[in-house]
């Protein structure tokens, strides 16, 4: 054997090894997971003979999961065209047509007929909720709802708007990491993926197929975002919360996959977010499950929840906050102290229990759950005046409700995708003004004396509350303006809680003596020690400091208002 022989042998071995590797890669790419998929399961997979009410000849002897339950190779069984009798031969030899004017009719043949638990036509987890809802959703109706040109992941070899196959591979798909769950083409990002990528949804919602206004991928990659790209493999079904002895959203399992907030099968027909005011679920979050708290006493943690899932609640959440509370309440967080969890959010602040904050028995809240006139814990006057609100909130004051997403959303909603997916602004604050409680530098707290730059420099509150538009809207804010008076140099969070969802006291007032961070900004911003709501925005009394009739007490500071007032809110 000479050198050439040895070289040839080595080359042959390398060629064989490369060929083997190529075969393995090809095998992965092509999957081979049908028998592991929901449809190919030999126990619970497809079985046409179990479809009631229609004659499907000669298929009862096919085992469950068999190709023949969907495909009849010659479109002829025993010489008979597959039912319905007289139907023509169908694409892919399917026993019912599934494309074009008959989009999804094959899928519906089973999925409208079977009951997987939550109700007739509902999928096992209640995420698929039947033909009627899907056919009324933007994911069925929109002409863009066909597979994008992206070759990866490989979609169906045809464009058929609204077809289930645009997202699902009925045979199951192996993406190289095993079977993609729920017979989808693609899964959420996996550990180690860079950049993280929700392939199933973002194949379209990346600024390509769905358009720039639905580019959710860009939003989720922003600094302050819901943890959709952050975690992998945490979204397992069925998801349950603390009130059910579950921990799907608990501290060790925090996540927010797309379907935690959206139901891709049952979006509304417009596929858009809401128009304020209101708080009923909007098109983009219709038919998502949520939780409704049972309200405990003021400023305590709601720990009892009604889980609004099919079949008891066929439409799931009724209001937007019920979806948010899945994660932002005891249901997801578990027990917390003083409303504050041990979890630090993307903005660097501890995540708080928002069901605690929006408790119907609290003295003051933003009207996310009920209108202010229906806020049980609030005292008269419950709402602010019309003059203290901007459009559209200045109409019907006291009777309006609002969405969490009225305040939280993208920094660029005027030109990009809407919704609280991600933002360049802390706390996902949105609107024309996007900074709270600090200015854009992230450290300088807003003061009343900044009134001339409230709008231009982006004080968040100004989006809805015209604090100063030539005149001050309450006599507390106006005190000492233009003079060497303490109020003009006071920061907003001297009196108001820094997390302005709700408060134990009226008008979102916080007490420095009792309230913890983050309500008490940096743990030391709040200076009020006693507060009593006045009869109107210009009826607040603070002097003389020795008067017990004052509305504010500020013991321990300069003593401006004295330390003792009559009947301060606890």
């Amino acid at each position: 054997m000479n050198c050439n022989d040895i070289r040839n042998i080595i080359n042959s071995m390398l060629y064989a090894l490369c060929s083997l590797l190529l075969l393995l890669v090809a095998g992965n790419a092509d999957g081979g997971t049908y028998l592991d998929s929901a449809h190919g399961d030999s126990t619970s997979g497809v079985n046409r003979s179990a479809v009631t009410g229609m004659p499907y000849p000669d298929t009862s002897s096919y085992p469950t999961g068999h190709c023949g339950h969907c495909h009849e190779q010659h479109t002829s069984i025993g010489g008979t065209e597959p039912s319905p009798v007289g139907d023509a031969q169908n694409s892919y030899s399917l026993f019912k047509e599934n494309l074009g004017t008959d989009t999804n009719e094959l899928c519906y043949a089973c999925h409208e007929t079977f009951s997987f638990g939550p109700g007739l036509g509902y999928g096992r987890q209640g995420i698929y909720q039947g033909k009627t809802k899907f056919n009324n959703s933007i994911h069925f109706l929109d002409s863009k709802m066909s597979w994008s040109p992206d070759p990866v992941p490989p979609g169906p070899p045809y464009n058929d708007t609204g077809n289930c196959h645009n997202c699902h591979n009925p045979h199951g798909y192996n993406d190289g990491s095993g079977l993609v769950p729920n017979i989808l083409f693609a899964r959420d990002s996996k550990t180690g993926d860079s950049p993280a990528y929700e392939m199933g949804c973002e194949a379209c919602h990346d600024g390509t197929q769905a358009g720039i206004l639905k580019d959710i991928k860009t939003q989720l990659n922003k600094t302050y975002a819901h943890p959709t790209h952050t975690y992998s493999d945490r979204h397992t079904l069925p998801e349950t919360g603390q009130s059910e002895s579950g921990s799907s959203f608990g501290p060790a399992n925090r996540h927010a996959e797309c379907v935690d907030c959206h139901n891709p099968h049952a979006l509304g027909s417009l596929g858009d977010i809401h128009t304020a005011p209101g708080n009923a679920v909007s098109d983009v979050i219709k038919n998502v499950w949520g939780v409704e708290p049972t309200w405990p006493t003021i400023w305590t943690q709601p720990i009892l929840f009604t889980v609004r899932k099919p079949s008891a609640y066929p439409d799931g959440a009724q209001y937007e906050y019920q979806i948010c509370f899945k994660c932002h309440s005891y249901y997801g967080l578990g027990s917390v102290t003083d409303g504050v969890s041990s979890i630090t959010g993307p903005s660097g602040i501890s995540i708080t229990d928002q069901a605690w904050e929006f408790n119907n028995n609290n003295k003051s809240v933003h009207p996310v759950v009920v209108s202010l006139n229906n806020q049980t814990g609030s005292t008269t006057p419950k709402p602010l005046t019309s003059a203290q609100m901007s459009s559209p909130w200045n109409s019907g004051t006291g009777n309006n409700t609002m969405y969490c997403s009225d305040c939280h959303g993208a920094d660029d909603e005027s030109s990009g995708a809407k919704g609280p997916h991600g933002s360049t602004r802390k706390f996902l604050l949105k609107g024309n003004a996007q900074y709270w409680p600090t200015k854009s530098d992230g450290s300088t707290l807003w003061k009343l004396s900044d009134y001339s730059i409230f709008s231009s420099n982006g004080l968040f509150c100004i989006n809805c509350h015209p604090i100063y538009d030539g005149t001050w809207k309450n006599n507390v804010h106006s005190v000492g303006m233009g003079m060497a008076s303490p109020h003009q140099d006071l920061t907003c969070v001297t009196c108001h809680v820094a997390v302005p969802h709700g408060s134990k006291r009226s008008r979102l007032i916080g007490y420095g003596t009792t309230d913890p961070s983050p309500y008490n900004y940096a743990g030391n911003s709040l200076k009020v020690t006693g507060f009593r709501k006045a009869s109107g925005p210009n009826s607040y009394v603070g002097l003389p400091a020795t008067s017990t009739s004052n509305n504010c007490a500020t013991a321990g500071t300069s003593g401006c208002h004295g330390s003792s007032i009559t009947s301060p809110e606890p």
Binding site: G27, D30, G31, G40, S76, G79
Partner: protein, 321 residues
């Protein structure tokens, strides 16, 4: 080509030493009997002075499937190593297991005389002739007339389809390469090579099937019945195995799911498959005569074990296993 003594097949007077010569299978198809009746005690003669018919020659009461170099298409008892087309004994178990050829079984109880995908015949299927598969199928031809002379002439290469004897397995006009042991050894290094074509050839084995099962064949059924490309309406035949995706994993020629070749006489390695070139045919899934499985399939499509039921499909559809 048959060689040997004429009397191995023919009889001049259908009598020898006063005894009838012509034989046939008995009524239970379990053995051979002299073909006599009370009306014809001297025996019933056969066309062509033959001592029996097609089934009579190609039937065995033993276990071997090649007897005196005659391929056995019907075995009256347990047998080993069925040949490429299968064995008509299976159709006695179930009409759906094989072609219902007269002499062996009655017409199909479910299908009657209508072949799936085709139009009703006026008579039950026979081995050859007008209502058969082999030989000249011109109207009026009986089994014998359809095959007349074919057994006497050269039936080996070149198989050019110009005559019955130079057609693949006496299938008039069909091309292919005949395995010398009719695939009795069932090995992919030595097997029949079937003619396939993607361009309207009338010499393909699938075209031949389409003479009766018209709507199941790509160009015979046409766009309205089969389609012209994916998504197909019916499983296509006489199309090349796709050279992409899951199909590229079909590399080693499977005797369970064989493929046709565009040029069966010039296959460089019979043990290999070339996606993009080799061709899906009716016989990729079916046996020509009969199999032990539903619809003459080459594997147990109705097995209660799902993986077994799909084992044939998975040879090509490699991502569906």
């Amino acid at each position: 080509m048959i060689d040997g003594k004429c009397s191995n097949c023919h009889t001049i007077h259908n009598l020898q030493d006063g005894q009838a010569v012509a034989y046939k299978l008995n009524s239970s198809l379990s053995d051979f009997v002299i073909n006599v009746t009370s009306e014809y005690p001297e025996g019933i003669p056969n066309e062509g002075l033959l001592i029996t018919n097609c089934v009579g020659c190609h039937t065995s009461t033993g276990s071997n499937t090649i007897v005196n170099n005659t391929p056995i298409i019907f075995s009256t008892t347990a047998f080993n190593n069925p040949l490429a087309a299968g064995n008509f004994s299976y159709v006695q178990i179930n009409d759906a297991y094989g072609h219902n050829v007269t002499e062996i079984t009655a017409e199909d109880a479910e299908l009657g005389l209508t072949p799936p995908g085709g139009v009703a015949m006026s008579s039950q299927l026979s081995c050859a002739g007008e209502f058969g598969c082999h030989g000249d199928t011109s109207p009026g031809n009986s089994d014998v007339k359809g095959l007349k002379g074919a057994h006497h002439r050269n039936d080996w290469a070149p198989i050019d389809g110009n005559t019955v004897n130079q057609s693949y397995r006496f299938l008039n006009g069909i091309l292919g390469k005949e395995d010398s042991d009719w695939e009795q050894d069932n090995t992919n290094t030595s097997h029949n090579e079937y003619k396939g074509s993607t361009s309207n050839s009338t010499a393909t084995i699938s075209y031949f099937c389409a003479k009766c099962h018209r709507n199941f064949h790509t160009w015979e059924g046409g766009p309205s019945e089969v389609g012209t490309d994916s998504p197909w309406f019916r499983h296509p035949t006489d199309i090349a195995l796709n050279n992409s995706g899951e199909y590229t994993n079909y590399i080693n020629y499977s005797m369970t799911v064989p493929l046709a070749r565009p040029d069966p006489d010039n296959v460089s390695d019979t043990a290999l498959v070339t996606p993009g070139t080799d061709i899906i045919m009716c016989l990729s899934c079916h046996r020509a005569h009969a199999s032990p499985y539903y619809k003459m399939l080459r594997w147990d499509y109705k097995s209660s074990t799902l993986a077994t039921a799909l084992s044939g499909c998975n040879v090509c559809h490699t991502s569906k296993n």
